[in-house]
Assembly symmetry: C2
Homo-oligomer: 225 residues x 2
DNA sequence: CCCATTTACTGACTCTTGGTCATTCAGTGA
DNA sequence: TCACTGAATGACCAAGAGTCAGTAAATGGG
């Protein structure tokens, strides 16, 4: 009897349906402005039903984030599989990150807005793994893939640094989150103007930055122009 | 007749009183959780009065941010006045930034949470300069002070780079905003663990980072060990 | 000193929205 | 056919942002 399985599938479908509706709306109007009623309407369900699948609005919010992180995780795996110098791998990952985020406003917003979640999340109603926990784990995995790429780069000589791979990865992730904020806040005129004046874009700036990071002075074996 | 002046002063005092109450409460419970009623009570005023001084909650929120930025501006001015190598000036500024932010949770939260403001802020009810505008301006000024410090550093040789001062400043500000996020999200266990394992702290990491940025490979005139 | 006018403030009220729950309905299996 | 399960509903509630008619206080002219 495959009834249990079917029910399982249907449940997952419903969840997805809700999530998709939520993402669409958040993309259009932002998280705050999107009401649970709207999401319900878009998903062609009643509001009460949403609460059968998500504890509350902030959980739904986290689920959006999780979906984005999973997507990113797949992409990162694809990159690390490739047979390229470590430096290239790192660059590709960071570009992938920025690219994914810029083409997925809902996810980006979910990544950056967290006040909601922080406060009062000690509610011990959650004995299950909790989506927040999941997100953290995926983030950690993403980080470790970056570290792995850096290690490869150090091995093959494409990355010269005196820093621990993990420390370097930490720096790079700070850098990414800074750029992210730039993207999110959309029209940060001033910064945009500087980039234009110097015929730069964020990806180019990123490359430039990595260049500096990966060719430290105590490594003279590099091509000097 | 100094009546107008006195009224002016009193009005400013009230505004400050509200702002202070708001900051206290945000510090304690976060922005979302703090209600206008609570702020009113803390400020010993009625809720209606708050709305005589601030258009809405998000404006109040921006005002918190503005206050923090002004504080930061003063600090930055103090730094740039000092007769030190440019590299030192930059370092001091960045440390000041991180320091101020970590010791002022309300301001930090105001800096990072912006969804509120972005959405629907085309309301043309604002013909006055608008606090949002003010914040932007101060941010730009802060940025220009950084640029100034970098220029000094290039001049006195303490900063070696092939990048435009403004571009470098942009990078550094991305870096800062990334670190900021780290601080804000509080217990980012994983990152904290990495720092501990390497006997590092954010300020130390920052120094390390600047070291790399400021001693680029195409400048062999530096001390090599 | 008194009255008219302006200014500052109040808090009861409205409206929106997140979240709940008693009830209904559909599918299942005996 | 009927009892049972659990999925879905939407009327309902509470909280909090924002409003506004009304009140009190300060001001200034007569």
């Amino acid at each position: 009897m495959g009834i249990k399985e079917r029910k399982e599938r249907e449940k997952k479908r419903r969840r997805d349906q809700i999530l998709t509706a939520a993402i669409e709306l958040i993309e259009e109007q932002g998280f705050e402005k999107t009401t649970m009623d709207e999401i319900a309407e878009r998903a062609e369900l009643s509001k009460g039903t949403l609460y059968l699948y998500f504890n509350d609005k902030s959980t739904l919010h986290q689920a959006v984030k999780k979906r984005g992180l999973e997507h990113l995780y797949d992409k990162f795996l694809q990159v690390i599989k490739q047979d390229l110098p470590g430096a290239e791998l790192v660059k590709k990952m960071m570009l992938t990150f920025l690219n994914t985020l810029t083409h997925n406003a809902a996810f980006t917003k979910a990544m950056v807005l967290y006040e909601h979640i922080k406060e009062g999340y000690n509610k011990e109603k959650q004995e299950e793994p909790s989506i927040v926990e999941d997100c953290k784990n995926i983030e950690d995995e993403l980080f470790m893939i970056m570290v792995r790429a850096i290690q490869i780069g150090i091995q093959d000589g494409s990355i010269k640094t005196h820093l621990e791979p993990k420390v370097l990865a930490l720096m790079l992730s700070f850098q990414m989150s800074g750029m992210l904020k730039f993207y999110l806040s959309g029209s940060h005129d001033h910064a945009q103007k500087i980039l234009n004046d110097n015929e730069l874009s964020i990806p180019k700036l990123l490359e430039e930055f990595l260049e500096i990071q990966f060719h430290e002075k105590n490594s003279p074996s590099d091509n000097q122009e």
